[in-house]
Symmetry: C2
Subunit: 557 residues, 2 copies
């Protein structure tokens, strides 16, 4: 068996080593255009920032190691230019010598990855403007940073953009982040990103939303970045991270189907239209695990697993099936963590899928143990059967754990009723007897069971003129004093039973507290004493996710 693999990073390298484990006597050729295979692309920003001090650490596996240990025919600096499907050969150009030759295959695995998108604006080719895809990018950026650069502009507020911002700031560089959308981290729901924006601001980063670069020009002191708003930002260094596009040229030229966004189409065995040609990694279209629609989700974990699965299928594991991608992703930013898995609220809305949601603001571990940090956790679920559809969390320690737990729950098709019963490890420095996961289960299950009517925060963001609902703040006077929803009346929950006469009988009542728990109790008290009441989902803390600038102005400090 002769296997040819195009691309030697995550998916390609995994396919190659897995193929060797399954077949000692196959001839396995691994073509890589660059000088390195299997490098740590997720580590690149941290090498710029100096957290990863040793460049060699980024070289996970050397070509020599792959040759020696896995008997792979590794050919670096070799560009695959075309596929002849009839002859079952690929056309290869040796970038060092310029020599071209044909390499035959029995099975071909395409793992060409994705390339960084560049905005089509004047001056984008100027020196000092970079994307961040490989070691040569990072070497050039690091050289500039090491030489003591002035201001930097990062264009794009996704994962790589945020990681670059953090690492540039760590190097003492004044950095501005420009994002075209009205939120950072566009795969998240907007309200879950507002605290990240505030956190960046608190670390001296200027965050400019709803804007984009329309031109770059050379100036005396470096570059000038002109924004759509007309503002001009000086910069010695610009890093662009506005997304990636599948490297599909080879596939398209060979007549293989690609999706609307360019991802190579594959079946559940990761075969393209041509059963002898597989495709894996960032170049392919995958099925969204939750929504069951084609999508593109460039992630290292799925790429690695796809490479492995393609090799499995080639070597006779006929039952090998890629199950789709959940989109589990995580980013760290100045000690905070944002992570998600499964569908977002906006993707559910876009797909027309019915859902409900809960917000939990819980400590990562027992509040009585030092160092507890509150995280905001949002869980989306089916309104009828409670099946978990997606989750997002923002906070400090323990955010990764809860999202991984919910990733497993989604993978298993679990419901919010299962979360009520989840038995997670509890000692005071690790969790709580009622973990945030259980809390999400309690609240969500209660919603489905109809135990406590909930009003979503969105409903009260734009007060309708005329007489709206009666907003009842059931927190302490001290909490109320520190900030509350406009028009709200404060009656602490502990006094509520004695002060029911202060609440209008003929009016809808929306009760809220800090996170939703006292509000729920208040709602129960009101409902059982004849009021029309509901609880504001996730309480004042959730309101503040939606209204980050109001009373408290978390982005200004």
């Amino acid at each position: 068996m002769k296997i040819v693999i195009v691309g030697g990073v995550a998916g390609g390298a995994s396919a190659a080593t897995r193929a060797r484990r399954l077949s000692e006597d196959s001839h396995i050729v691994l073509f890589e255009r660059g000088p390195n295979v299997s490098f740590a692309n997720c580590g690149l920003p941290y090498y710029v920032g100096g957290e990863i001090a040793d460049r060699d650490k980024l070289l996970v596996v050397s070509p020599e190691r792959l040759r020696e240990r896995y008997k792979l025919d590794v050919r670096i600096r070799s560009s695959v230019e075309a596929i002849d499907r009839r002859a079952k050969t690929v056309r290869v150009r040796d970038l060092a010598s310029g020599r071209e030759y044909d390499e035959p295959y029995d099975k071909l695995i395409l793992a060409p990855g994705a390339r960084a998108v560049l905005p089509d604006v004047p001056g984008i080719d100027l020196p000092g403007i970079f994307t961040l895809r490989d070691l040569s990018d990072v070497d050039r950026i690091k050289k500039l940073v090491d030489g003591g650069t002035g201001r930097a502009v990062v264009v794009g507020g996704g994962y790589i953009g945020l990681e670059m911002v953090e690492n540039l700031v760590r190097r003492g560089i004044a950095t501005t982040l420009v994002q075209s959308q009205d939120q950072l981290l566009s795969s998240f729901d907007k309200e879950m990103t507002t605290s990240i924006a505030a956190h960046l601001a608190a670390h001296g980063v200027e965050v400019i939303l709803n804007n984009s670069a329309v031109s770059f020009t050379q100036a005396d002191q470096g570059l000038e970045v002109r924004l759509r708003s007309g503002r001009v930002l000086p910069a010695r260094l610009v890093v662009v991270g506005i997304g990636v596009r599948p490297e599909n040229k080879l596939a398209v030229a060979a007549g293989l189907a690609v999706g609307p966004r360019g991802g190579i189409r594959v079946n559940e065995h990761l075969q393209t239209d041509d059963p002898d040609i597989y495709a894996v990694g960032d170049a392919i279209e995958v099925e969204d695990f939750v929504l069951k629609v084609p999508t593109q989700i460039p992630l290292a974990g799925p790429a690695n697993r796809q490479g492995r699965l393609a090799a499995n299928h080639i070597f006779g594991h006929a039952d090998t099936r890629y199950r789709g991608t959940q989109g589990t992703a995580i980013v760290g930013i100045f000690g905070k963590t944002a992570a998600m898995t499964g569908a977002s609220e906006k993707s559910l809305e876009h797909a027309g899928r019915a859902y409900r949601k809960v917000y939990i603001h819980s400590n990562n571990h027992a509040g009585y143990f030092p160092g507890a940090e509150v995280m905001a956790l949002k869980v989306l679920f089916d309104p009828i059967d409670g099946k978990i559809l997606g989750a997002q969390a923002v906070g400090g320690d323990g955010v990764d754990k809860r999202i991984d737990v919910l990733s497993m729950a989604i993978q298993a098709g679990m419901t919010v009723f299962d979360l009520e019963e989840s038995e997670l490890a509890y000692a005071p420095q690790y969790g709580s007897a009622k973990d945030p996961i259980n809390m999400a289960g309690f609240v969500a299950s209660g919603l489905i069971r109809g135990e406590h009517p909930q009003t979503e925060v969105e409903r009260i963001l734009d007060p309708t003129p005329g007489r709206g609902p009666f907003l009842l703040d059931v927190r302490t006077p001290e909490e109320f004093e520190q900030g509350h929803i406009p028009e709200a009346v404060n009656i602490p929950v502990d006094e509520l039973r004695h002060r029911l006469s202060e609440i209008p009988q003929d009016c809808e009542v929306i009760a809220y507290c800090q996170v939703g728990q006292r509000g729920q109790l208040a709602t129960r008290i009101l409902l059982q004493t004849g009021f029309r009441a509901s609880n504001l989902g996730g309480g004042y803390k959730t309101y503040r996710l939606f209204m980050p600038m109001s009373s408290g102005a978390s982005e200004s400090h």
Copy 2:
């Protein structure tokens, strides 16, 4: 509806507040023998150690708060002495006044907890010998420690014993740990605890296994603890944590059934033999979630959930079912973490349940990012269908996450094939593109598929006389030099293909490397070139779990 609850800590307090949420007009009486309700019993050792500096932090909820917020009729220092099932009353003694009275109930919830077991040996009543169950215990221990005590002896190497050791050492007290079994943390498999023992030793703790206290005597300088071995340990302070026993007196006297180990018998709705009497928490017998046998697992999380479920069932959630306890538990000790969920190997053996196992030694996050720590992860699974039966992990950061992820997997009935496909959050500071969870799935699935024959470490621990298998160490010469299995021959995997002639053809070959990965590749090479070969499961690191004192003597430094 009149609810009477006996016991005001985890299960009882949860039942009471849940009942109030479900029913605003019920009369809910909460009897607690002690002066506090709902205190943080899992935090007690950390108050002794000073990590929790403020005693008030341990008082999670005050009786006043429960009265005000939840309109509960809380009666502290009230001992429930008897149940009259026919009259549906309990006999209560007010410990302050000595007054006795009958309190009627419609539904009774027993949440009396468990009491610490004391060894039945001479001198056990002497001053200076403590158990650790409530605030009065901890106050007395802390007073002694604050006064500057000399040596301490902790009897019992379970969760509380280890936490007490850590906190006493933190206070500068020379501490000896005495454990009757041949391992610490008896719910774990022995080999998973050896590194914890070594870690304690490295922190100056003397760990004495296979021994127990046979008498305590008063001496000039405090106490003398005589061990079964004859050795005498001086101690100013002795803390005994050898287990707990269900508080079942009330139930037994009322004619309610208890299990062989004293746990109150309940059905899946948490009802005792008497449908109007529920029981929850450490006092009850539960079903082992994996083995489906009755057992006793005193844990705060399940106790809280049981309290909640009992209230649910009383208030009409007829479908409320307690699903059993997985036994998910965790302990931190000097910066290391040990955690488990589901069945252990020994509990599977004891139950006669077929299983297989894998050991994974993986970094908690990408190795190229600073601060990566190796954890040892053991996963037990069904040998046919791959269903996950249990897991244990020991290491640093991220152990809690992996055990929680596997707890979800067990709850959902997932298999090791599912672990192959798990999509966990990856950025270099949080995880790996191939997480330890995926690695466990890869290795375990490969075993079931018959891809790579594995030999368990146990087989080579006692070399049989005569010609045994050929032990092939495929690590580098440097690794081999630092320690290897006796009789092993070193051929690095990268040279193996050229040095096959050095391996005897007529002999069984067991290949091993550091963690199992190179050994697996070596095994594949050997199998595909005609040898009878297998891979040593989990490699040399797993061997060292079983043989901690050999070549390297991790307990001696």
